[in-house]
């Protein structure tokens, strides 16, 4: 072999080494980004805990201009809106997934699947705009309320935001149920409905649970839509009628107020502290969903 060819070969070997090392680094970059995000949230958010007494920070009154940083109404606001949204989206989403996967004729499936993809693609600010201009006035008139911008309005539209996630995860879960289960059910003389209701859906329940958690994660983190349609009143959402009153969530508070605060002020740090709470909440929800997924994958259930 000529020396030229050998040197070309070593050069390409070195090049290869660099490329493969680069790819390895890129592969691990996602871990780095998660850590980086958490680091910057802590860096800007921790001072809130030293500057504001905990009693104030977890108090019930949010009036930043008077140095009252009670985040409790915001946390409860997020929880009320999220749980209501999931209560609406879960039955609709699972039923739709079952219909699309188990019952719908081929042509209907060809229409339904792209429709749900379209819903997933609609920007939340567009849904928020639609909610403000069309849904909120309807709810105000229909229920005789002083304003249509309420927790319920937000939850209703938020449910549609979470639906594509819930439907697609639930569909995957139904897909993973072996056909033999369905055949066995039918062979026992059960109707198609009995097979779906008593065999297929129970067999897919851990996947459906995962859909709920991912859906909750989406709902609790949604910002623009919630800011535009929930009315943004930072009051404690207590009592049943709170659902039909304005409410304010953690995400909306950050989005609405961060633009107006001086960086480095107490208010600024508190908004980052709310960011830490949101980060941890979604982290836990996603971790739980991921655990369900890994467990399923080990059992060879969910592909």
């Amino acid at each position: 072999m000529s020396s030229e060819a050998t040197s070309a070969k070593t050069r390409s070997r070195w090049g290869e080494f660099f490329v493969e090392s680069g790819i390895r680094i890129l592969g691990f970059s996602t871990i780095g980004f998660v850590l980086l995000i958490f680091f910057f949230l802590l860096r800007e958010g921790i001072p809130a805990f030293t500057k504001v007494p905990l009693g104030n920070l977890f108090g019930t009154r949010w009036y930043p201009t008077f140095d009252l940083f009670g985040t409790l109404p915001l946390i409860l606001g997020s929880i009320v809106v999220t749980i209501t949204a999931i209560a609406i989206a879960l039955p609709l989403g699972v039923a739709t997934a079952v219909y699309v996967r188990e019952v719908a004729p081929g042509w209907a499936r060809e229409i339904l699947k792209p429709m749900i993809e379209v819903l997933a693609g609609i920007p939340s600010v567009v849904l928020g705009f639609f909610g403000m201009t069309i849904i909120a006035p309807l709810i105000r008139q229909g229920l005789g309320l002083p304003t249509g911008l309420t927790a319920f309005t937000g939850a209703l539209i938020l449910a549609y935001m979470a639906l594509p996630t819930i439907i697609s995860v639930a569909e995957d879960a139904l897909d993973a149920v072996p056909t033999s289960y369905r055949n066995a059910g039918l062979a026992m003389g059960a109707t198609q409905w009995q097979t779906i209701w008593r065999v297929v859906v129970p067999a897919a329940r851990s996947g459906i649970l995962m859909a709920v958690m991912l859906g909750m994660g989406r709902a609790i983190g949604e910002t623009m839509l919630v800011m535009m349609v929930t009315g943004n009143a930072a009051r404690m959402p207590l009592g049943l009628d709170a659902l039909f009153m304005p409410v304010r969530t953690m995400t909306a508070t950050i989005a609405a107020e961060m633009g107006e605060v001086a960086s480095g002020s107490t208010h600024y740090h508190v908004l980052f502290a709310i960011g830490i709470i949101l980060f941890l909440l979604t982290f836990i929800l996603n971790l739980a969903a991921a655990q369900a997924m890994f467990r399923k994958r080990r059992q060879g259930g969910l592909r």
Partner: protein, 288 residues
């Protein structure tokens, strides 16, 4: 006969059950159609050449939305420029190099969490890191980098799926003619997976194009009737503009609001259509 009554009762229940499922599906689909139809019907009158190519005038109540359209397109390209190399590299690692061990599981966990972080928290991070710590200021580069990290999980997971779909034989054959592992990836696997990768990139960028919260404190200008001059300049963007004119400006003509919503919707949906077409076209054409 008693059993016949029971049977007919079972089929009645079946009919009711399936009917309820269909009803729920309608309750999901009909509002989607209503949203699209409303925005189309009320928005299309606003759309004309001036609306698309003129600067806003009169406190945004007249004129066009040109700077917001251009801003969003610049943001899409800048985000892609940052996200594509990292996303495709990450996908190549996961599909071609990663073994099934705890390190890989940690990467997947990180991806799931990255995908789940609320968009407004990305905004906070972008503000803390790019705008303030790295001193980029409120700028296109700060917003694009924030959006790029947000789109990574989508790009990586779709691209990985496309790479994994390429049969093992392609790699074996490349190795059997003396190709190294990287050569096999570079000249055989990546070209085969390209349509799938492009689909993933479009899906990621589509998400970036429609997001408002991450650009709220990193790029978006409330009202800037000129085009950005550099990557370190602010810009208007369609989603933020829609938010501004529907909540922050009193007395806004509804036509302009619906027109802006329609332009944003068309942009996002045409991207999503492109992704779908590429995917189905190449799926039909491929030989394996």
């Amino acid at each position: 006969m008693a059993s016949q009554a029971a049977t007919s009762r079972r089929y009645l229940i079946q009919r009711i059950g399936v009917g309820l499922l269909a009803l729920a599906t309608l309750a999901v689909v009909v509002p989607i159609v209503l949203v699209l139809a409303t925005i189309f019907v009320r928005g299309y009158q606003a759309i004309n050449w001036e609306f698309l190519t003129a600067m806003p005038r009169d406190g945004m109540k007249a004129g066009g939305i040109f700077p917001a359209i251009v801003g969003t397109i610049i943001l899409i390209f800048a985000t892609g420029l940052a996200a594509i190399p990292v996303g495709v590299g990450g996908a190549v690692y996961l599909s071609e190099y990663a073994r099934d061990n705890w390190a890989t599981r940690t990467i997947r966990l990180a991806m799931i969490n990255l995908a789940g972080i609320p968009s407004v928290v990305y905004g906070l991070f972008g503000l803390g890191m790019f705008v303030l710590f790295l001193r980029f200021g409120t700028s296109i580069i700060a917003g694009a980098l924030t959006l790029a990290i947000m789109t990574l999980p989508i790009i990586i997971s779709t691209a990985e799926e496309a790479l994994r779909a390429v049969p093992v034989e392609f790699r074996t054959v490349s190795a059997s003619v003396g190709g190294t592992r990287w050569q096999g990836i570079r000249y055989v696997v990546l070209p085969q997976a390209l349509p799938g990768i492009i689909t993933g990139v479009i899906l990621g960028l589509l998400r970036a194009a429609g997001e408002t919260a991450p650009i709220l404190f990193t790029v978006a200008a409330f009202y800037l009737p000129r085009l950005p001059r550099s990557l370190f300049d602010q810009t208007m963007a369609l989603p933020y503009h829609l938010y501004v004119i529907s909540t922050q400006v009193p007395g806004m003509p509804p036509q302009i609001q619906y027109g802006t919503a329609l332009v944003l919707l068309i942009l996002v949906l045409s991207l999503s259509l492109t992704a779908t077409v590429i995917r189905s076209f190449f799926r039909r054409r491929r030989q394996w």
